[in-house]
């Protein structure tokens, strides 16, 4: 290294330091993204996605695992991308499970009504 500090050299050092700190500052969002995606996957599993949306949940879990791996390997950009995908897929799995439950509940009540109506009609015609 040259003992003489030139202006460009100083500038380069400052820029690279800035770049590094910028890189370092990316660590926090990626960790947060991965954490959020983990929460989303857990919520989906709790909503019954394992039975009602297995493909979506599996894909979300797999993306989350890869995001975690990327985080360990300090590939924050990839970790963030995978976490975003995992979160979106987990949300889809959860929505799918919720809508399946709501739909089957609505269907059950409709069926209930149909049976009730049938009984009513039978009772009415029997009393006539």
């Amino acid at each position: 290294m040259s003992p003489r500090l030139t202006l460009p050299a100083v500038a380069a050092t400052v820029v690279s330091a800035l770049l590094l700190s910028a890189c370092a500052s990316q660590k926090a969002p990626a960790t947060a993204d991965v954490a959020v995606s983990q929460a989303a996957v857990e919520n989906a599993a709790q909503a019954g996605a394992a039975e009602l949306a297995p493909a979506e949940l599996t894909s979300a879990r797999e993306k989350f695992a890869r995001a975690n791996q990327a985080l360990k390997e300090r590939d924050y950009k990839l970790a963030s991308e995978l976490a975003t995908q995992a979160q979106a897929e987990a949300k889809l799995a959860q929505s799918k499970a919720t809508s399946a439950k709501a739909t089957s509940a609505a269907d059950a009540v409709q069926e209930n009504i149909r049976v009730l109506r049938e009984e009513l009609d039978r009772a009415n015609s029997a009393n006539k």
Binding site: Q85, A88, S95, S99, A102
Partner: protein, 300 residues
Amino acid sequence: MNKTFTQKAVTPLVLSLVLALSACSSTPVTTSTLDQARSDYTAAQNGSVAQYAPNEFKAATEALNAANTAASNREDLTKIDQLASLAKTKIATAQEVARTKQAEASLKGATQEREQVRLQARTAEAEAARRNAEQAQRDAEAAKAQAEQASAATRDAQAQASALAAQLAELKAKQTERGMVVTLGDVLFNTDQAVLTSAGTATVQKLANILRDNPDRTVLVEGFTDSTGSTAHNLELSQRRAESVRAALAQMGIERNRVETRGYGEAYPVAGNNTAGDRQLNRRVEIVLSEAGKPIQARR
């Protein structure tokens, strides 16, 4: 830097870049995933997804816009695919949320409907129960009326039977195997005549009353004499006396077809013919009253 060199070197570079760009712009950058995301989005837009899941639909719109922007910026195909895939997932999520909201709305409506149907069922049940109770009440009333009618009929029949018994007792009727028999002695006729005395008419009137009160009974009037005189005369006299009773009954309003007559003359005496008292016993008219609705057995 040398300006001349730069100009010489740059010109072909710019040319090739322009060519490359124009080649690209004639075939817009897209991927099958992006195409799919766009068509999913259109389908969601045409449905009621925006209405039922506005937040999710907005997120999906933003994701698709990001993918579209990447495509028009000719970014890396992998990057475009990634964004398109994300958009697809968000569109699907919006659709699922909308589906949930629709199901919930339907569930709410259906629950109300179910309550209505249940209410109808209960009303129908109550109505049926009321109708049944009313019917039972009517049945009970009818049965009671019927029972009252039956007991009234029994009372009537009993009253009629006891009235008949009293009337027959007054006539000194005797029970025989052919039925009740009323005997009119010859004192009720003028001697050797078939004309009823006033006492005889009064007795026949009692018989007429019985026949009027008991329309299902008929009578057989049988005439008898003692053995004095010719058989032919006695037969004729006994017949005339029987006929005289029928005529009197007819005058009292009893149909002639309910009264049969038979003259037996001196046959069937009830006593000897040696003394005046016995002969008087033989001079008689017997009136046989039928059982209700039955014919009278002939004398054996």
